[in-house]
Symmetry: C2
């Protein structure tokens, strides 16, 4: 019993399947279960054995996304140093998860916002806290609510991910474009 993983016999790598699914669904949110299976290099039956159904798959993707976002937050140490620099670090760390994030956000929009998942609430709170801290430190303007800044960050990350995927923005500019617009806006400022 050397290959027991989580009490089950090992077989297909669950995480690997999830990553393949994320990669595909981020591009085409309407991809079928069969397509997901092929993208993951496994049979449809096996996919169904691992995830009871499409809903279960999406929920698993949600968990994965939340995990990775939490990890990104941790790595970015958003509670340390100047708030604007923390935002930059956060954007940088979130970049790899951006396509999955935008998929999950739109997915959540589709299915009526019945139950605000606890994980999302916690993430929202972390982002929101960051902006609030920036306001208290005098770095961020106080006429834009932390809730809106949080929404805007998600929105810009989604737009950025999609613009990159579509070739309208170079991948290397992703972090810069988002962070700069979010922090400094489009208007030319006197400083700098």
């Amino acid at each position: 019993m050397s290959h027991l993983v989580y009490g089950r016999l090992m077989s297909v790598d669950r995480t690997q399947v999830l990553r393949a699914a994320a990669a595909l669904l981020s591009r085409r949110a309407t991809a079928t279960m069969d397509e997901v299976a092929r993208a993951a290099g496994i049979g449809r039956a096996t996919l169904h054995r691992q995830f009871a159904g499409r809903d279960a798959l999406v929920r698993a993707l949600e968990e994965l996304g939340i995990q990775e976002l939490e990890a990104a937050h941790d790595r970015a140490r958003t509670d340390e140093g100047p708030a604007d620099e923390a935002v930059r670090r956060l954007v940088a760390e979130v970049e790899p998860v951006a396509p999955l994030l935008s998929f999950l956000v739109t997915e959540n929009q589709l299915f009526e916002g019945d139950q605000q998942n606890e994980g999302w609430a916690r993430l929202d709170a972390r982002v929101s806290d960051l902006f609030r801290r920036g306001q208290e430190e005098g770095t961020f303007r106080i006429d834009l609510t932390p809730a809106w800044l949080t929404e805007a960050l998600y929105g810009l990350i989604g737009s950025g991910a999609w613009a990159v995927q579509d070739g309208r923005v170079a991948a290397k500019d992703f972090q810069y474009m988002i962070a700069e617009l979010l922090l400094g806006g489009a208007r030319r400022s006197v400083e700098k």
Copy 2:
């Protein structure tokens, strides 16, 4: 033949149906044809008589959205006056169309972006031109490309529409939040 409209006998108001569809689909993008029909107060058969199918309905919504956005642009006179003020006017004029716009944007993302609709291309060009003009006038920073600023504007409008619909942002703050963030960013600036 007093009630001939566009060569067809009048009956249900096509535009009114489209508006009802827009209102519903903007909230629940997966709403069924039957739901759309009920929302419009007509029978499903009649809905099918007017729009060959779901695709046709969405395409009609697309045309409607494009029309209204063009009209918003015209009213905002985005080629007059300082670019930043033009952006403000544009955001204000676009606000009523925001939910429909965000629906169409995500819808377009779902179906593979094979052929860029001519209408969207023209709208993109108008927005893009506005930002370019601002850069040439020295109002906007030049390190953010017009293409990205255009994406960002759409993204923020979508986020704003959704945040309002979800009650996380007050409807009355919609224009201000978007325009201020887009123009000035989150960082507190020295001026003002």
